[in-house]
Amino acid sequence: MGYDLHFGWTGTIGKVILGATPGEGGTRKTSYSIGGGTTLPFLELNPLLRAPLVALEICDDPEYWSPIIRNYCGDLVDDVDAWAKTAETVYGADLVRLYLTSTRQRNFSDIASVGKTIEAVLSATGLPLILEGSNEPRIDSEVFQRCGETAQGERLLLGTAEAGRYRSIAAAALAYNHSLIAQSPIDVNLAKQLNILLREIGVQREHIVIDPYTGALGYGFEYSYSAMERIRFSALKGDTDLSMPMICSAIDSLTIKEVREAEPSLQDEMAVQWEFYTGISGAAAGAEIICVRHPKTVMMLKNAFASLMKGAGFPEVN
């Protein structure tokens, strides 16, 4: 007897392409097409659909980054190119998500340095890049413009557009053919509204990745989990304003009480488990890019995703 795992749905998750190889006009070693799903996560019968991607988050000014990461990575965090390279060669990430935290200093104005950082990171790693630009409306326009221009042809994923703040980022994405992250605070309707706003100013569906905002495990994760399920569900029922792939990043995971106050000898592992449980559940709810900060979480997630794909088995011990 066959069982219909499509539950009668008609919608499809739209596709978004991240990164561009030399043949595609960029310089990345690989590019990814995400989306394309026609049912709930991990129920797909189509063997061509890929496992969720795992992005390692790094930054160009680690002052405000979690000390847990500095302890684990050492001086690497002071050298953003080496960090990006290690993400690829040692930590096994699929993507690098670079936060331009240097722009968050008071009265930041050295826009040229942004361009240099991006160039350096692009040459250090062959992975497609997610780029988190400014966090400050005053400099948004210049920063995003510079990001877009410097990485022209690379099909970046630019972050992060929000309801009150999306024009500069959309302009940079449109001008240089990048995609963008559209973030709304844990609410299906707000996610939909933002997508409509973006579409009205010309951003195409195939250039939007939804970030429904992920509260850390124990700190609002259940809301995020359900928001993701509902977005996926609406998309499958045919709502094209919600039918974009999703990204999940529980950035608060490293600052919550359980992690921060863990005994020093357990802290690393606590951080990893917290990111891991959040990431895998986020993927089960429909996210296709899972972002983490602790390097050890990367391969744990990738191994788990491998066992979730069609035709996989359980690893053997010997």
Partner: protein, 447 residues
């Protein structure tokens, strides 16, 4: 298709004898109509009525209780595929697995750990649920001894995992009346297994690969008279687990395949993928999860995920608004305002307790929203603070008129001062800094 309460009532014996646990046949009928009771609870129903009612009224997934006493847990009786459709009701029991080849000391240590370890989050005690004992030795005596060791140390729900009924019988001599789950009946051995389960009226796990085989096996066991079943899907990968578990949940709740209406058993003891299996079991429909003893880090993450996924999405866990005391505050003790979201309350309370400054917490009714969320939604506002001060009579509890508000509500400070006539101090954003703040700042306040 669902029957109405009155249609059901017509088929009941109308004795109003209360033996079903309900005061009248009519209230029992109403429960049946809501899928909240099992027809078998009425001993006087004739077979014809039973067959009409059985399939349509019992909960789409049967309730199966494992263990007895305080730590026993219920599984099943779930109604939805997504938690946002309503809620998930019965969090999966997570049991630590041991083998009868382990030493007496090891078995004792794991048992005591499950018995005693508690992780308190937002006012609830989170715990693992029991012990699964595997008959790895193959010997009934060794198995019985291991089960006895567990039993000497704790009254925990058990899963008895053995291939032979001989081993099960040897263990059940000691624990047969405590409702352990016996694992596992297969298409090859189900008759003997059913005989064992029936003798002790324990719940039983059945194991087969693929939905059709599970249906056949469940029917066979039911025909043998065993109703308290859980299903081990013996998946070949995590993907296979999710696919099968989702299909089963869907087919069961829509009653398209009523023979699949039993809780799901998940063996998470896969090398390298234990945490992945546990997390997926929690979010995707497992009711009984067995795993080797977890590290402290995995333990907290797993128990927190389970708590999150099984909270009712319609109502965040809330506190009653009011004036709460930390220690025994006097007339000059500080008053701290916060919201009635439990997570916020317990986080702040924890830090206040460790600061050892006796104080009052004024909990205002933000309908369960956190500070930042409530401020963003306009639910944390000066009128609410003013009314709460009055309602909970704060003026008579303290001899000063100074309030400390959360750092995240700083933009409201002026308006709160105006509306209440109280002086407002803006506390830190992060509750972890509250102790230091109170020690430094409260002494300076002229009272």
């Amino acid at each position: 298709m669902a029957l109405k309460a009155l249609d059901i009532y017509k088929l009941l014996p109308k004795k109003n004898c209360k033996e079903c646990g309900d005061p009248t046949c009519l209230t029992f009928a109403m429960k049946l109509a809501g899928g909240k009771a099992d027809v078998d609870l009425c001993p006087y129903l004739d077979d014809q009525a039973k067959s009409v009612l059985g399939a349509t009224t019992r909960p789409p997934i049967r309730l199966v209780k494992i263990g007895v006493g305080e730590r026993s847990f219920a599984t099943g009786e779930e109604f939805v595929l997504y938690r946002h459709d309503k809620t998930f009701y019965h969090p999966p029991g997570i049991l630590f697995k041991i083998s009868d080849l382990q030493t007496h000391e090891e078995i004792t240590a794991t048992t005591i750990r499950v018995r005693d370890e508690t992780f308190t989050r937002i006012g609830s005690d989170l715990r693992f649920n029991g012990i699964a004992i595997e008959n790895a030795s193959g010997s009934p005596e060794t198995f019985a001894r291991a089960v006895a060791t567990v039993e000497e140390n704790a009254d925990l729900p058990l899963v008895l995992m053995a291939k032979s009924t001989g081993a099960l019988n040897a263990a059940l001599v000691q624990v047969g009346s405590y409702q352990p789950l016996i694992h596992t009946a297969t298409p090859e051995n189900f008759r003997e297994m059913c005989a064992v389960a029936k003798k002790h009226s324990c719940p039983m796990a059945i194991k087969a690969h693929g939905i059709d085989n599970l249906i056949t096996l469940a029917k066979d066991c039911l025909a043998e008279g065993v109703k308290k079943l859980v299903m081990d899907l013996c998946p070949q990968s995590l993907g296979d687990y999710i696919t099968t578990a989702t299909a089963i949940r869907q087919l069961a709740i829509t009653r398209a395949a009523p023979d699949l209406g039993y809780p799901v058993f998940m063996d998470a003891t896969h090398p390298f993928l234990q945490d992945a299996a546990i997390a997926l079991g929690i979010v995707k429909y497992a009711s009984v999860i067995i795993t080797p003893p977890l590290s402290p880090e995995s333990s907290k993450a797993a128990l927190t995920l389970r708590q999150n996924i099984y909270t009712d999405p319609q109502k965040p866990i809330q506190m009653n608004p009011g004036l709460y005391r930390v220690g025994t505050p006097g007339k000059d003790a500080p008053v701290l305002v916060t919201v009635n979201f439990s997570l916020t309350f317990f986080t702040l309370q924890g830090y206040l307790e460790s600061s050892r400054v006796p104080c009052f917490m004024l909990i205002i009714d933000t309908e369960g929203l956190s500070v930042l969320t409530a401020v963003a939604a306009g639910k944390f506002n000066e009128t609410l603070v003013r009314d709460s001060l009055k309602k909970f009579n704060v003026e008579n509890e303290v001899a000063h008129k100074t309030l400390i508000i959360p750092g995240y509500s700083a933009p409201l400070s002026g308006r709160i001062e105006e509306a209440t006539g109280w002086k407002v101090m803006v506390g830190p954003r992060d509750a972890a800094e509250i102790g230091e703040y109170l020690h430094e700042e409260w002494g300076k306040v002229p009272l």
